[in-house]
């Protein structure tokens, strides 16, 4: 628990110190949002309907950059070796890094959602609480397998290709559920379906936050 908090604090501190990188990440997400609107064309109705899809795809694409960087700071200068030599639990290491990644993705989502409102002229029919809850659960669902896989691919050749190849098929349920829940929150939910989608997200999060925590120790030692 202590390890987890310290790793979390360390990662966030590093990110805070390197704010320019965070800004470039946000610019990347913002550019993707713009590109989606150019690709679809000036169709206000379609833009509003697909706003949630653009939001989550831009978060997913940016997440590969973020995850790659979060593991690179450990590999560079042998920081990871030193961490592994220290008597700390591997699970704590995983949960610390995964929480730091979740937090950063949440910040990214928090900045992207207002942008979506500006660019796509999105609406918010249901309460904003659903949107925030979806953002938290969705980013957590991306961060847990993402942290595991970035640790696996960190020292490989061709990791830029392997990380998305591993991660994208795995997070299909997260994207499906998060996009549906966000759409329902934005456009209205007359059938009360949003709860079911959030339940799916919670199930995914529970499975992967526990499974990846168990497997991370083996991966990081290899």
């Amino acid at each position: 628990m202590n390890t987890m908090l310290q790793i979390l604090q360390k990662d966030l501190f590093i990110e805070w110190r390197a704010r320019s990188r965070t800004i470039s990440l946000i610019s990347f997400a913002y550019t993707i949002l713009l590109l989606f609107s150019f690709a679809v064309g000036p169709n206000a109705v379609a833009m509003r309907q697909h706003a949630a899809a653009y939001l989550w795809l831009s978060i997913l694409l940016s997440s590969t950059l973020l995850l790659d960087r979060s593991m690179r700071i450990e590999i560079e200068a042998g920081a990871l070796h030193t961490l592994l030599l220290a008597p700390v639990s591997k699970a704590g290491l995983f949960y610390g890094k995964a929480l730091a990644n979740t937090f950063q993705l949440m910040v990214l989502a928090g900045i992207s959602i207002p942008l979506i409102y500006v660019i796509c002229d999105a609406t918010l029919v249901e309460s904003a609480g659903w949107l925030i809850l979806t953002a938290i659960l969705g980013t957590a669902g991306l961060a847990a397998p993402g942290t595991l896989y970035s640790a696996m691919t960190a020292r490989m050749t061709g990791k830029q290709l392997l990380l998305p190849l591993l991660l994208f098929p795995l997070v299909v349920p997260v994207i499906v559920a998060a996009v549906k829940a966000t759409t329902l929150a934005m456009l209205g939910d007359p059938m009360d379906q949003i709860g079911a989608w959030l339940t799916l997200l919670i199930c995914f999060d529970l499975v992967y936050w526990s499974l990846c925590g168990v497997l991370f120790g083996r991966v990081i030692e290899a």
């Binding site: 190849l165 795995l170 989608w197 799916l200 499974l211 497997l215 991966v219």
Partner: protein, 222 residues
Amino acid sequence: MLGLGLLVWAHYAGLVHEETSEFMMGDVGRILYAHVPTAWNGLLTYLVAFIAAVGALATSKKGWDALVEASVEVGVLLNVLLLIQGSLWAKPTWGVWWDWDPRLTTSAIMVVAFGVVLALRQSIQEPGRRLTISSVATIVAFINVPIVYMSVKWWRTLHQDFSTPETVDATLKLPLRVAAFGMLFIGIFFVVARWRIAMRRLSREMDAPELPDAPKPLTVEA
């Protein structure tokens, strides 16, 4: 050989005899005898891969590691065959090559999720790391299958109800069963053959390289 024989016999029984033709679809429905066994055995092979991956992580024995490689490869092969057969059948019956039905979508995602395991194995040189990382990727991919299926099913059924009656008539059952066993034996044959190759390669990797000949002692003539 037994598998091939059974498959030939089953396909003869299924394809040539009049009464085994499917009532609604006519001759097109006869792909059932190839398609359904491929699906069953593909899933079975992935199950073997999952068990082998757990075994490999628990024991670090190269036998399990070779089985992971063999069964994932055969599983991906069957999976690709399954998608091709499915598309061939879907065009004349549904009028489209592809449909976003949960089973189709899940099989398409499975190809990528398990195919990446093979790519991962190719890109890691060190045997110990390769064992750990490919086993972890296999376990995660396998556990993800039911979640992907669930999410896509919800995603579809909230739009429209999709159902296919799964009743198989008695006259179709015998060729189908025989074909399934035929495919099973062929699958086992492939996995075993592939396992042998993988074992040899792994053993060769782990053996020390052959030493060069020892220099001859100098003899000084008196």
